[in-house]
């Protein structure tokens, strides 16, 4: 007599919990679908059509966009530029970042002020940063060329952004300047959590500065450095604004990376299908790094 109502009550409670659970997770699912799944599916869908951007009308192209891309020298050159830019700027970011973090970990005068100031480039908007650097690089009024001329190192102003390899080197340097504070923050946080006892014990055992750095600091930083490298690789690989504003991908296509190629295909050539194909390929490349990152994060 009493069993059925109790069972009913339990089922209804379960059902209610299920509904509540679904309701609670629904906003996340909706937002996730809207901002990630939809653009992703949309990009893949667009990449198999030949579409004129302003009207967004076009026809089925199958894998033509992909085969055209893979056969074009421009795509491979852009990919190579992308790799050079990412590797170059990331290396500099890591070197500067770790060095500055080690410096700021010491008891130096005005340490708090220095720690705040070092973050400045990272918080600066890319547009403002580029404007400042373009002025520094300017051939007629730029302080960089003037200083080098004053020091007697050069006779004429240097074309920093319009010729190779200067343009790529300048880009890599500005990128490193802009993003190295991220490395500083992460490394500094880790440095502060390394127990002092390890250094004391090593010192007692006769370890010098270099030995303490290579045997204690670096192994302790290893995990955080791997995560930084993976994250910054993903972010630098898809960098657009800094490169576009500084060189626009020039001279010719010497600094054109894949994100710039996407933009050029979509809005300069009005080929949204081709642009989507480049974007999809970019996504596949970044997926490799993301897989590594997720594995590392899980560990």
């Amino acid at each position: 007599m009493t069993g059925k109502p109790i069972s009913k009550k339990r089922l209804s409670l379960d059902a209610r919990y299920s509904i509540l659970g679904a309701m609670l997770i629904a906003p996340t699912i909706i937002v996730f679908s809207a901002v990630i799944v939809y653009p992703l599916v949309s990009a893949i869908y667009l990449s198999v059509f030949s579409i004129y951007t302003p009207t967004m009308e076009g026809e089925w192209a199958g894998l033509d966009n992909y085969s055209r891309l893979l056969a074009s020298g421009e795509f491979w050159r852009s990919l190579l530029n992308n790799i050079v830019w990412t590797a170059g700027t990331l290396t500099l970011q890591m070197v500067f970042g770790v060095l500055v973090a080690l410096m700021l970990h010491q008891n130096v005068v005005f340490r708090s002020l220095a720690r705040s100031l070092v973050l400045f480039p990272y918080f600066l908007s890319a547009v403002v940063a580029v404007l400042v650097w373009r002025w520094l690089f300017n051939d007629l009024y730029g302080v960089l060329s003037h200083m080098l001329m004053w020091a007697g190192l050069i006779d004429m102003p240097v074309d920093w952004l319009g010729s190779m390899p200067n343009a790529m080197i300048s880009l890599i340097f500005v990128g490193a300047w802009k993003y190295f504070p991220f490395v500083v923050i992460a490394v500094l946080a880790r440095l502060q959590s390394i127990p002092d006892e390890l250094y004391e014990a090593a010192t007692i055992d006769g370890a010098g500065r270099l030995a303490r750095f290579t045997d204690i600091t670096l192994p302790q930083l290893k995990d955080v450095l791997i995560v930084i490298v993976l994250l910054r690789t993903i972010w630098d690989f898809k960098e657009f604004d800094l490169i576009y504003l500084l060189t626009g991908g020039g001279p010719i296509i010497s600094t054109q990376t894949l994100p710039l190629m996407v933009y050029k295909e979509a809005f300069a050539l009005n080929q949204m299908g081709g642009a989507s194909a480049v974007a999809v390929i970019m996504m596949l490349i970044m997926l490799i790094f993301m897989t590594f990152y997720l594995r590392k994060a899980r560990d």
């Binding site: 302003p54 007629l140 102003p157 074309d159 626009g248 020039g250 010719i252 300069a268």
Partner: protein
């Protein structure tokens, strides 16, 4: 008194707010803010995009907007800037996203042709009729008649974009007696005037619209063309080779950073006195007057030199336009606003904001006393006259010569950067002009067929 009694007192004390009442008020205020109150603001908003937005021009636009809003209560006009280098991408995104502005001004005619051919623009004949068809200069709107009998847009001005600007004081010092008329004369003049921190010419070598425009001009000034009158690709020619060779030969007279120059940098180089010659439209006049008055007495202009005296000058006229996207909202009031832009009081302010840069297309305005009563127009009457004549006879890639058909793919060719890239390959990479031209021809062909 303990803490609890304090809290209790605070809650019950008249004149003090309890936490609950503060929360209630916050919720009520949030809800009130979300309620659709009747709009105190305008019920119709017109979005106006333009590539021309110097402070003086913005002041003129504000006047036109203010008078229009006063005459049309309930209408608000919002001005939004775009740029010569950025409009193509911004408009492509706007058309694709269905979020188009109501009215767009000062875009070159070849952009209009591109959008019109894709069915993105509203016929503009009503506005032209409202302004007065006969009031436009003869042929001023011919370039917009892409399909016979229908205008895709109207001219809002003329611009002689590639005038040669010269410093007369430097010419004197260098012993140059007359303005260069041929490339050899120009090279010789630049060579004589260059030195002691002054460069000969601020020609651009970047991958942008200015480099594209300059090489189109050079090819025509060499007697060549990009496309034949029937719109067949005709860029592979001795004339185009000569044009590229000339462009390359001018590199030694340009500042090192010219490989990144666009309109702004090139203009600044001449106005600041860093170069002895310039290549620009009439904006030089107001910029020199305001930014470097020291040289204001020592500047003049002429049509850009050609390869020889046998080849006539070729001026690049952007044919700055005004058009209405077909998907724009509130089309009737937008048309009224488009016509309003030509009203004498506002239009004169607009063209005189940068005297000599955007030249009037209406006969009544060109004759108007208020237009002529301008310090710069009076002071540089000869230069303004030269620019006006050059602009009226001008062409662009959308309409290369009077014998050419309208090229609706001109915008796509220019925005692709193919022509600027061709210049870079020859000048910066030192590649052979003819091979680069052949490659460029193939790429243009693809766009023309696409």
């Amino acid at each position: 008194m303990n803490d609890k009694s304090n809290v209790h007192q605070a809650r019950s004390c008249p004149g003090q707010l309890s936490r609950r009442s503060v929360l209630k008020s916050a919720v009520a205020l949030t809800a009130a803010a979300a309620l659709p109150f009747p709009k105190a603001r305008a019920s119709t908003t017109i979005r106006w995009w333009s590539t021309q937005s110097s402070p003086e021009q913005l002041a003129a636009y504000r006047y036109q907007i203010k008078t229009f809003e006063a005459a049309h209560p309930g209408v608000e006009v919002v001005f939004e800037r775009t740029s010569d280098e950025g409009y193509a991408t911004q408009l492509a995104a706007a058309f694709a996203g269905g979020n188009v502005p109501n009215i767009v001004t000062h875009l070159p005619s070849f952009a209009v042709a591109d959008y019109w051919s894709a069915g993105l623009l509203l016929p503009f004949d009503d506005v032209i009729a409202e302004v007065g068809t006969d009031n436009f200069y003869e042929g001023a709107n011919r370039i917009y008649e892409i399909e016979p009998g229908t205008h895709a847009a109207a001219g809002i001005g003329n611009t002689a974009a590639n005038m040669l600007w010269m410093r007369t004081d430097r010419m004197e010092k260098a012993g140059i007696e007359r303005l260069p008329a041929t490339w050899d004369e120009l090279r010789a003049a630049c060579s004589k005037m260059q030195g002691r921190g002054i460069y000969g010419a601020p020609l651009p070598y970047a991958k942008n619209s200015m480099t594209t425009l300059v090489i189109i001009g050079f090819i025509h000034q060499a007697g060549g063309q990009i496309l034949s009158p029937d719109l067949e690709v005709a860029i592979v020619s001795d004339e185009a080779v000569n044009a590229l060779e000339f462009y390359r030969s001018m590199r030694e007279f340009s500042p090192p950073g010219a490989t990144n120059y666009s309109w702004g940098e090139s203009l600044s180089a001449f106005v600041s006195g860093a170069t002895a010659t310039g290549l620009y439209a009439g904006r030089v006049l107001i910029n020199v007057s305001k930014q470097n008055p020291r040289i204001a007495e020592h500047i003049t202009c002429a049509t850009y030199p050609t390869i020889s005296a046998d080849v006539p000058p070729w001026t690049f006229n952007d044919f700055p336009s005004v058009f209405i996207p077909a998907d724009a909202a509130d089309l009737d009031i937008t048309k009224k606003f488009a016509a309003w832009l030509y009203r004498a009081d506002g239009y004169i302010q607009q063209v005189n904001a940068t005297p000599g840069h955007v030249l009037p297309v209406l006969k009544t305005i060109a004759r108007h006393e208020a237009y002529r009563d301008n310090d710069i127009i009076r002071r540089y009457a000869t230069e303004v006259e030269r620019m006006s004549s050059a602009a009226v006879a001008g062409h662009n890639l959308g309409w290369e010569t009077p014998h050419h058909r309208a090229n609706v793919k001109a915008g796509a060719i220019i925005n692709s950067g193919i022509l600027a890239e061709m210049v870079q390959r020859v000048v910066l990479n030192d590649e052979k002009p003819r091979a680069v031209l052949a490659n460029t021809a193939g790429r243009i062909e693809k766009i023309m067929k696409g």
